[in-house]
Symmetry: C2
Subunit: 340 residues, 2 copies
């Protein structure tokens, strides 16, 4: 058994990282086809020491592949995902296009792989900030129950894409040289600054990223009434998202118990007391790191955690490839492959 895989948006940050993750891991591959819009088609990306030519997604015949990893953003997913499914490919989509569709499983493999059995061709990869948060919420939900989740995020610019990394670098250089920094990508300067808005504002004055964290968490944990609130903030960090997380558990637990519960969860790495992860060190790593586990001084059942992960790996590319691996193990990828 070996799969033919297309990566849509292969020249972007997440698409390129998907190629890196596919290189490193053991999903059996018979061929990998990088796809992008006509603007980038014809360019080359490396894969296992070969140079692959990027093809135009618009003209691509998805019956040539068993699996399509979509990392081209919401519009590309809306335009091409159905076509890929109709052509018999399984789609794992990193965009927000289908995440809240009740027919689309929204999956973090360590958390809710079981929901994959219901898939109708498309599986959604959750929002980056949500993924790292549910990785620590899941074992707590299962072992002690959760009443409430309060999160404030510190999100790196790589979550926006390559242009945003360039903007941070260009603005930083301008400021260091005493020049006026220009803005193109973000509504505010990001160099030596930060701002509490990710996406546009919606209901109740919450921005899109905040609603994603609330709604996706409820869906992934299959807990539609879980009380969740979020404040999402963009910070001048290149890679790695950090989260100041406060949960209220159903029954009070000690920090020691929390450490034990979290340490036993696959993919989570708990730091020793009074130590903590930082984005610089989490960048390039696969684990979700948790530190500063401590009692809340403002509630009897509250527990603070500091959660950091690489938003491009576990927050996007790695999680998508893990979904493919689990689908392969569950026989869900094979079935679609046979159909095509």
């Amino acid at each position: 058994m070996s799969f033919r895989v297309a990566v849509v948006g292969a020249t972007g940050l997440v698409g390129n990282e998907m190629l890196r993750v596919l290189e490193e891991r053991s999903l059996p591959l018979s061929c990998v086809i990088p796809l992008a819009t006509s603007r980038s088609s014809g360019s080359r990306v490396s894969f296992r020491k070969e140079e692959l030519i990027v093809e135009d997604v618009e003209a691509f015949d998805f019956s040539r592949v068993d699996l399509a990893l979509f990392a081209g953003g919401e519009i590309a997913s809306k335009d091409y995902a159905s076509r890929a499914v109709q052509a018999g490919a399984v789609v794992i989509d990193n965009s927000s296009a289908f995440r809240m569709d009740p027919e689309v499983p929204l999956v973090v493999p360590e958390v809710n792989a079981c929901s994959l059995v219901q898939h109708q061709g498309i599986v959604a990869n959750p929002n980056c900030s949500t993924i790292q948060m549910v990785m620590v919420l899941k074992p707590l939900v299962d072992k002690v129950g959760l009443r409430r989740v309060i999160v404030t995020t510190f999100q790196s610019v790589s979550g926006t894409g390559k242009d945003a990394i360039t903007e941070l670098e260009t603005q930083t250089r301008a400021l260091m040289d005493g020049q006026r920094p220009e803005r193109r990508v973000y509504p505010h300067r990001i160099a030596f600054n930060l701002f509490p808005q990710i996406g546009s504002f919606g209901l109740l004055g919450y921005c899109e990223e905040e609603w994603k964290m609330i709604k996706e968490t409820q869906k992934i944990l299959n807990h539609p009434d879980l009380a969740v609130t979020a404040t999402t903030v963009r910070v001048p960090v290149v890679r790695g998202h950090s989260e100041s997380l406060l949960v209220e558990t159903e029954r009070p637990i000690t920090c020691e118990e929390a450490v034990e519960i979290l340490s036993g969860f696959d993919g989570v790495r708990v730091m020793d007391q009074n130590t903590y992860p930082v984005p610089e060190e989490a960048a390039g790593r696969d684990e979700v790191f948790v530190g500063r586990i401590r009692q809340d001084t403002s509630s009897p059942n509250g527990l603070h955690m500091w959660v950091v992960a690489d938003n491009i790996r576990k927050g996007a590319a790695l999680n998508a490839v893990q979904i493919a691996e689990v689908m392969c193990d569950m026989g869900l990828l094979q079935e679609k492959a046979e159909k095509s």
Copy 2:
């Protein structure tokens, strides 16, 4: 009536800003004497177009002044504040040395100027993050009551001092030039990074800054049982602290009501709905800015706010000078001046 004022730590960030604030405002001054440790004595600082020679605090006779603004850090305050008081000067101390002393008023003038009447010579200026937070908590405590306060901070490097600004700049340059950044001031790299530790770790795994925010808030609001919890984070911003603040009020209030209550409070500037302050724009300003006022999706009485202020001005130098002004208005500064 006009006062002789000493500024201890006049060559530091906060001490120098105290000189700027004294220049701008209307506290009547007959002379200003900059003081520092022997290392900096003999250097010059500017004040109202004059160059003042910095004198050695060790050798200084505090009976020469009516008021001493201390901004030289905890050790300087412990070493010299009592001597200044014994010499008849009123001390307004920016360090944490005396803040939790029950005999020392801990004052944000807009919030608890009344507590100044109990002073015994020393008045403490609160922690920078605490000042901007209590400025928005106070009107809410008075008008609707508070049950609980949950805060996560984004603190700029200027809170640490000049060396930390240099460290951020030097590390940023090194990284932009592809070189290895060096660490001197902070336990982690600060350029393009962040870390959730300000001060050393203490009880319950909270760091010093977190305990300051909890204990000082309770003291300033005269609400020793108020449920407060904090997570304090250092971010690569030069100036201006930001806070993601969630409060639970005694009774539910609408955002409109919250806006009205906060707008009526002296020194607080409320931003329009879906707008918010950022540290870049708050730097150099006197107000405490509040934006993103919105209902909590996780509790019936919860209210989110995003609070930004200049940590060197309202968070330190301005607040200290305002204390002096209010003491002058209350006749508290004059009395001490007459004694000397």
